[in-house]
């Protein structure tokens, strides 16, 4: 297994290089006039050109041949892409073009509020949906199963925005059970996070319950379940020891692969509840053509995704003896 892990890790630089190349190419393909927006509303063309030079946007995109005669062969790498590549791999994300804040600081400050929201939401949602999925699968075809599926479909039909707007209005404003909006660092954050977490769980429950119900239904009809009952095992043992373990592969796939995206936060919930996370940072960065922020976010997500994939494979081997990593 170790050899497999090492081999997979060796692929990582290639994947990350590809991601950086694509991000850079896309950004340069659709890039708006960032220098003009930095220069302010009354800027002259000369000022815009000065800013382009200051940020190195006047350099060649990939290969800097013009500077080779004067500065030597290494100057060929003094291009926008190679500078971007070097800065990324050394984790020097620089400063946001729009706000001039250090990108690492923006990410560090946003990550905790985002994760404070998404991690409990994720685990609560997982726990609830797997439990409900198992429960209704066990009672498949009964009224409780039909009702649950119907409610799930209805829940999936409700736009997230409507759930948030209603939840905030009713539970926070009308009933006064929760703060309407806000965030404080530390343990005080909990009081602001309860309602968005509950709403987040509620919004995701419909589709995930249906997903896990389907998985459980596949397993509950399997021969080994019948065999287990035939051997006289108690229902809890059959379900929690045998069925759940066999259902782990799809659960792990959907769970571990979702973990990197927890880092991105939740756009709508963060906006409506004033949680200063990363959910909106990326959107703002794209809107403002703030490449250092976009690059840092993409780079980190790419690395997390690669690691998440690797972790998924390792988990397969751990929970399923039929899977071997070689």
């Amino acid at each position: 297994m170790l050899a497999y892990i090492v081999r997979r890790l060796l692929y990582t630089p290639l994947i990350v290089f590809g991601v950086l190349l694509i991000t850079f190419a896309l950004f340069n393909l659709v890039q708006g006039d960032v220098a003009a927006s930095i220069a302010g509303k009354n800027a002259t063309p000369q000022v815009i050109a000065e800013i382009q030079a200051e940020y190195g946007w006047d350099k060649p995109l990939f290969i800097n041949l013009p500077d080779v005669p004067e500065h030597g062969v290494l100057a060929v790498f003094d291009s926008q892409f190679f500078n971007h590549l070097w800065n990324s791999v050394t984790f020097d994300f620089g400063r946001s073009i729009q706000s001039k804040q250090a990108v690492s600081g923006l990410l560090a400050r946003g990550a905790i509020p985002s994760l404070s929201l998404t991690v409990p939401m994720f685990f609560a949602s997982l726990l609830a949906s797997v439990s409900i999925g198992l429960f209704v699968a066990f009672y498949r075809g009964r009224w409780i199963d039909t009702t649950t599926v119907t409610v799930c479909v209805l829940g999936m039909s409700l736009p997230s925005l409507a759930v948030i707007i209603f939840g905030q209005y009713f539970f926070a404003y009308q009933l006064g059970w929760f703060p309407i909006q806000g965030y404080e660092p530390g343990v005080n954050a909990a009081r602001y996070l309860v309602l968005p977490v509950l709403l987040g769980v509620l919004m995701g429950l419909g589709s995930s319950v249906r997903f896990y119900r389907t998985i459980m239904l596949d397993e509950i009809r399997a021969d080994y379940i019948r065999t287990a009952y035939a051997k006289g095992l108690a229902t809890p043992k059959v379900l929690f020891k045998h069925l759940l373990k066999n259902a782990m592969i799809p659960i792990i796939t959907s769970t571990v692969l979702a973990i990197p995206f927890l880092f991105l936060g939740s756009l709508l919930l963060e906006r409506f509840f004033g949680i200063p996370g990363l959910g909106y940072l990326m959107i703002e960065a794209i809107g403002g053509r703030d490449f250092p922020v976009i690059n840092a976010m993409t780079f980190i997500i790419a690395i997390l995704f690669v690691l998440g994939n690797l972790l998924t494979d390792v988990c397969y081997a751990l929970v399923d003896p039929r899977v071997s990593l070689s």
Partner: protein, 627 residues
């Protein structure tokens, strides 16, 4: 000792399929847990919820709570480029001049200056006396943590920072080409390899500290608007010690001279400003305009500023939570979201009884803003077809447009400069026969336009920045208007804002939606948008060129306010409305709600750092809110 009933103790298992016991032997325990969680969650908000508020009340502090509609990116005056950021930062940093809080038309008065500037007869030398009682706020960048007095040299340093290309300031345009030697200093900084190697002791010929409290500025050409720009936040004074100590993080460590200091800044969430204990002796104005006394705006005349001890800003980017927090009394001041307008404002533009009963008051005021659909005047199909431009202007029902998309929060714009009293010494009866709605005339002009084009008219494409629902609705409306009603080959191209900016700067648009908010109460600010040498990528995005207009602009730009200048401005406006390089749409109006315990508020659309004048009756708030 009694025990609470144990929830689920008598719960029974669900009968399972095939007759065996269900799996939920633990269901009652789960139910108990859920119930406990719900109770816990319900109680949690009550724990410490109003703790800070209560502590402030007990300490006898006057605290005002406000919502901010966007995150504040940084607090370096050199880089503040948005209204909200400036609204906060200007309470910490101050420039030499400021707008009189009460007088209208807007009037400039000294702030850190001791008197109004003395301008030489040729208009090229400006001498300014700096107050001798101003100190920087206490900060650890100073020896012993005590702020030192502000001297003339500090302004020279601050303006060199604006010029330094290594700082890539958004606001260099304010001083660009104005002060002798400052552009040369900028060129010098371009040649310096590293930011920290820029020599700020290098002399700039046009900036001289005659003594600690006298500043002499030599201009490259007369600049009558200088007094406005010396009241503009980016020209505020910053201490060199703080910039050098905090480096790139200076934007997060503001050290100014203003009435408030930054006490707490939870990025993206909350900002708290508290009273600056070393703020100079500055008093509330003793005179205003007619009506101010009756409105109670002079009751605090002559009193030391500021009145409020603590300003708490919560960043709320969505309309619904901002509105709910205002209705709840969690914030004292707010706007009216589009979706709440109908339920809040009567057709007579008054507050509904329900909101009045809550203790809210409504302020309506015009902003120096104009929106338009610009024509790229280098596109021959538009430049050479005046009847077409007239038709496009005549066909737009501006009143209907305002009602549909702005809740009527604005006034139709028949021309570029918003009406008085937003602009000093400028009153403008302009003959504008093509900018009021007349569909029949518009259709006649379409026929003329076809003749002018020699037959069929080419396709017209309007580029709009924004892909949200409102922009889409605007697009539908204009398509109906121009395509269905006028029979033009018209379509709308939606794109995000940076793309639209890029396309206008590179002249790749034919028609485009845009607007402008004036920085200063001088119509020159709007006329610059039509000045030939400012064509794209400058701010003349319409690429309008008219020699007569340009000649008038060059005269007006260096002329002091007065009847002659006003007459020039009228001529220039007339040229614009005759030539119609755009479809003028609207000037916007702001609606502000605040509880009646907020005092001394008067709308001021140009000034910053105005919180020092405002007060509140904390006792009234406690009585009305019960907390």
């Amino acid at each position: 000792m009694t025990h609470p009933p144990r929830i689920g103790r008598h719960g029974r298992s669900f009968p399972g399929p095939r007759g065996f016991a269900g799996p939920l032997g633990s269901a009652p325990r789960l139910t108990t847990l859920c119930a406990a969680l719900v109770v816990g969650f319900t109680l949690l908000p009550g724990c410490g919820g109003g703790g800070e508020r209560q502590a402030d009340v007990e300490a006898g502090l006057k605290v005002r709570y406000q919502a901010l509609g966007a995150k504040v990116r940084g607090m370096d005056p050199m880089d503040v480029g948005d209204v909200l950021g400036a609204g906060i930062t200007s309470n910490i940093y101050e420039p030499l001049y400021q707008y009189h809080y009460l007088k209208r038309p807007y009037e400039i008065v000294p702030c850190l200056a001791a008197a109004m500037p003395e301008v030489s007869d040729d208009g090229l030398t400006v001498t300014i006396k700096v107050r001798d009682d101003v100190v920087f706020q206490d900060d650890e960048c100073f020896p012993g943590g005590k702020g030192r007095p502000v001297v003339a040299e500090d302004f020279i340093y601050s303006w060199k920072r604006l010029a330094d290309i290594k700082n890539v300031s958004k606001n260099w345009w304010v001083l660009d080409g104005r002060i002798a030697g400052l552009n040369a200093f900028r060129e010098y900084t371009q040649g310096v390899e590293r930011k920290q190697d820029v020599d700020y002791d290098r002399a700039v010929s046009g900036l001289e500290a005659v003594d600690d409290h006298t500043l002499r500025i030599t201009l490259t050409k007369p600049w009558p608007q200088i007094r406005y720009y010396l009241a503009y936040l980016p020209t505020s004074v910053v201490p060199r010690e703080a910039v050098e100590r905090y480096g790139d993080e200076f934007l997060n460590h503001p050290v100014g001279t203003g009435p408030y200091v930054l006490d707490e800044w939870q990025r993206g969430s909350r900002i708290v400003l508290t009273r600056n204990p070393t703020f100079r002796d500055e008093r509330y104005p003793s005179e205003g305009e007619p009506g101010d006394e009756e409105a109670g705006l002079l009751e605090d005349a002559g009193k030391q500023l500021p009145f409020i001890d603590k300003q708490v800003f919560t960043i709320i980017e969505e309309d619904q939570p901002a509105w709910l927090k205002l209705m709840n009394g969690d914030v004292d001041v707010g706007g009216i979201p589009k979706d709440n307008y109908g339920g809040s404002i009567t057709p007579q533009r008054e507050l509904t009884d329900e909101l009045k009963a809550k203790g809210l008051e409504l302020y309506i005021y015009d902003r120096p803003v104009t929106f338009w659909y610009g024509f790229n005047m280098e596109a021959p199909e538009l430049r050479d077809n005046l009847p077409l431009r007239r038709a496009l202007n005549l066909a737009l029902n501006r009143v209907e447009y305002l009602d549909l998309f702005l809740n009527g929060r604005g006034i139709p714009a028949p021309k570029i400069v918003p009406p008085p009293p937003l602009f000093e010494a400028y009153d403008e009866p302009i003959d504008s026969p093509y900018t009021s709605f007349d569909l029949d005339r518009a259709k006649q002009y379409v026929e003329e336009a076809k003749q002018a084009a020699g037959g069929e008219l080419p396709e017209l494409v309007l580029s709009l920045g924004g892909t949200d629902t409102t922009q889409r609705q605007v697009g539908e409306y204009l398509t109906r208007l121009y395509k269905t009603e006028l029979g033009l080959d018209f379509r709308v191209d939606f794109m995000d804002w940076p793309t639209l900016q890029e396309k206008t700067k590179t002249k790749q648009v034919q028609m485009f939606g845009m607007g402008w908010e004036a920085d200063i109460p001088d119509p020159e600010n709007f006329f610059a948008l039509f000045y030939g040498p400012n064509k794209s990528p400058g701010n003349n995005n319409m690429n309008y060129q008219d020699d007569a207009f340009d000649a008038l602009y060059e005269r007006l730009k260096v002329m002091e306010p007065g009847p002659e200048r006003t007459a020039l401005a009228r001529q220039m406006e007339q040229i614009i409305v005759d030539d119609l390089p755009c479809v003028f749409i609207a000037h916007t109006t702001s609606f502000r709600l605040q509880y009646k315990w907020c005092e001394n508020y008067k709308p001021n659309v140009y000034g910053y750092g105005l919180m020092k004048y405002q007060d509140l009756d904390a006792e009234m708030r406690r009585e009305m809110l019960g907390r």
